[in-house]
Amino acid sequence: MSALRLTLRAAPAQRVDCAPLTPAALGGKSAAEIGALLLAAGGPPVRVDDLFTIEGTPGDTLVLAGATARLDGIGTALNGGTIEVDGDAGDYLGRGMATGTIRVSGSVGTFAGSGMTGGELRVRGHAGDFLGAPLPGEHRGIRGGLVLVEGNAGERAGDRMRRGTLLIKGNTGALLASRMVAGTIAVGGTVGPGAGTGMRRGTLLLPALPAGLPATFNDCGTFPLSFLTLLARAWRGLPAPFGDLPERGLRVRRLMGDLAAEGKGEILIRA
């Protein structure tokens, strides 16, 4: 398997837009051609070879080594292939990605996975605010694919989510799943106030009842849901606490809302 490895020479002083760096866009290019590409940045554009050392041959996998939070837009509109980020990533990671995989060993900035329609986004560290959320003016957040954050997520994670799966192992900030239309969100830790505000449909699976839930959620009691068996099977192979969801015997307390919106959303609390 061939891989192209771009290693950051030094932390950039300005933010850099790395959107042009995807396996598909670099495929078939020589190291010299890749080096001559210009990336938009704060101040004048920078050449790729001024910023990175270039090793290996372009192929299915792109490795960004020594990455910092100043590298924005990594994997924008990714359609196939794998990007491995060794270090942190900036804002707009995997924005609008359709297929392929992005793995980040560190933490990521705001709007990671914004408007993605498919593929897989895995973050070992934390995610900033607006995880998967649409940019201002857009109508839809995540529309498909899987996002897995092993650390915490900031505010407004899953805003206007339409389809797909958003898994956060750690804690989340305020207004998780705000204006959610559909899809599945699960959290392993605590959840900030205002979860599910404006939620129309969709499922939120939480370990405990969050504080500050909107008053427009209706408690429907605790009972088993056969749908959870299917969910548990679908999540096999994912890390705990998602991959080890029991196939049988799981009871949940179900709250329906947000009644101020369509009200068909559900917050499921593991009993």
């Binding site: 938009a40 554009p45 940019l135 003016g137 857009e138 109508h139």
Partner: protein, 555 residues
């Protein structure tokens, strides 16, 4: 400095020059006659085989005013796209359907346009609109002041005030708002909408003032004519976009009662109700009327397929169409009881029956209006399509084979209903030069633009002749503005600041006092604060030159 453009094929319809090989001389920003033999030529450019025209003039394009900022705010995704990167020469800008001011100027110049006129400048918003247009580099600018639904005029008319007073008010408005013409949008309808009327036809009476659109049209067309403003009343008729609106459009021509009248984006006003879907082309009737009426002219407002945003003063139409907005959002608002505003994004689809027929109707109008001096090339930017689609539109007009290929791909029901396939006319370069240069300049009453005779401003566009007219008109080889080379091979090489074009017809200052009292009583600012002086206008455009074109008062 004397510049010689040697050996190009010159298209200068204002002087009947149709592709003859001529040398063009430029000195001090003006075109000059051939100098005496032996005069030193400072720079000579060999243009053999090239097509030479005056700089193009867009006489109806929404490039300034509050509605564009609403569109930009409403469509951040449009504004994020198509970024213009900052360079040593250019400022950063962005946007597709409602581009930023800098991108607007750059893109016009890159297509060989050297002037653009904003057709819906609300007098109350004139300062903001001029500021915004002042920020558009490269091209000359001007605005048409919007009247016809303003409370003051409707009050005067309801009270049966004599025409002379109305003329004074119209003239005062042209001064105060520093405009070059008068526009009327959905006559009386914008106001009627606020009194819960949802439809205004020519004979309908305004629910409060009792004035009909016909009255407004007659009164304003007469005022513009009597004030000697060269540019005829610019009319956006009632019932825009309504199937079966063409009798209203025909009636609008009549309503001017012989005074000059210009019907704008006439494509949206040429709809019949024949066929199973009750939507059909009335281009033939409309074109026949334009052909037969010496005092009428029109621009088309062609639609082209793709995403755009519609921005109009016609709140009634925009409110009616809000349900078909794509993406689904819209704004309908009142502005200072003076007029209204409606903005909604729209995607024209070639497989959609209505959109496809609209496309065909526009082209039918282009081909059926026989006198090219009476029709102008517009897409009503951005309402029918962004102005950057003009080269594509020119190819559709000049190349019948290409037109029929495109016709073959649209909605089949629309194709069957349209007569477009049977129209054999192909526009010539000479006619295109009339539509985009000589015609607009003559209509606007600007005598030193749109042609290439000695004395004209040296706004010149040079194209490489190319059978693919779209490629040819997209990337001119040279564009000169006031004799300076501003574009080379479709790329900007020098940034210039265009000038403002205005008129200042005479009027009886007695109207000042009347307006001052009215403003004091009813409006949020004083009339003297609305007034923009000539010097202030210059400042709004980064010390732009302000040209005042002469008016001839009709006796």
């Amino acid at each position: 400095m004397l510049l010689k453009l040697t050996g190009g094929r010159v298209y200068d319809p204002a002087h009947g020059v149709d592709g003859q090989v001529r040398d063009v001389y430029v000195r001090d920003g003006r075109i000059v006659a051939a100098p005496a033999p032996g005069t030193t030529i400072d720079r000579e450019i060999d243009l053999r085989g090239r097509v030479v025209m005056a700089g193009a003039i867009d006489m109806h394009t929404h490039i300034g005013g509050g509605k564009l900022n609403i569109a930009r705010a409403m469509l951040p995704e449009d504004h994020r796209g198509e970024a213009v990167q900052r360079s040593a020469l250019l400022r950063a800008s962005c946007g597709h359907a409602a581009p930023g001011t800098f991108a607007t100027g750059y893109r016009y110049a890159e297509m060989g346009y050297t002037a653009a006129f904003e057709p819906a400048l609300l007098p109350m918003n004139a300062r903001q609109a001029h500021l915004e247009m002042g920020d558009v580099p490269m091209v000359d600018k001007g605005g048409y002041a919007m009247l016809g639904s303003d409370d003051f005029l409707l009050r005067l008319m309801a009270a049966g005030t004599e025409q002379a007073v109305i003329n004074d008010y119209v003239a005062w408005t042209l001064h105060a708002a520093r405009c070059i013409g008068i526009k009327v949008v959905n006559p009386a309808g914008i106001s009627a909408f606020k009194f819960n009327a949802r439809r205004m036809d020519l004979e309908d009476r305004h629910p409060y003032y009792g004035v009909s659109p016909r009255d407004v049209l007659r009164t304003l067309a007469r005022a513009v004519h009597e004030l000697g403003v060269p540019f005829p009343l610019h009319v956006h008729s009632n019932l825009l976009g309504v199937p079966g609106n063409f009798p209203t459009t025909l009636g609008t021509v009549e309503a001017s009662e012989g005074h000059p009248i210009h019907l704008t984006h006439i494509q949206f006003h040429s709809y019949g109700t024949e066929g199973d879907r009750k939507f059909s082309s009335a281009a033939a009737q409309i074109a026949a009327k334009i052909n037969a009426t010496p005092n009428a002219s029109c621009d088309v407002g062609q639609i082209l397929f793709g995403q755009t945003v519609t921005a109009s003063g016609d709140n009634m139409s925009q409110h009616r169409n809000a349900a078909v907005a794509s993406p689904k959002k819209s704004v309908t608002m009142d502005i200072e009881c003076d007029a209204g505003c409606g903005v909604l994004p729209f995607r024209y689809k070639d497989k959609n029956f209505v959109n496809a027929l609209q496309w065909a109707i526009g082209l039918e109008l282009f081909l059926l209006v026989t006198d090219p001096w009476k029709i102008f090339l517009t897409t009503d930017h951005p309402n029918g399509a962004p102005f950057t689609t003009y080269p594509h539109l020119i190819r559709l007009l000049m190349d019948r084979t290409f037109r029929n290929e495109c016709l073959g791909t649209i909605n089949p029901d629309a194709r069957t209903l349209s007569t477009l396939g049977s129209l054999e006319r192909e526009y010539t370069l000479y006619e295109i030069a009339i539509l985009t240069r000589a015609g607009p300049a003559r209509l606007l009453g600007i005598t030193d633009m749109g042609h290439l005779a000695p004395g004209a401003r040296a706004d010149i566009t040079v194209y490489r002749d190319d059978a693919n007219r779209e490629a040819m008109f997209t990337t001119p080889e040279y564009v000169f503005k006031d004799g300076e080379e501003i574009v080379r091979d479709g790329r900007i090489v020098k940034v210039v600041q265009g000038r403002y074009h205005t008129v200042e017809p005479e009027y009886d200052p007695a109207i000042d006092r009347r307006l001052a009292e009215y403003f004091e009583k009813y409006l949020t600012i004083r009339s003297r604060h609305m007034w923009i002086s000539r010097d202030e206008l210059s400042g709004l455009g980064h010390d732009a030159e302000v040209v005042v074109h002469p008016t001839r008062r009709a006796r």
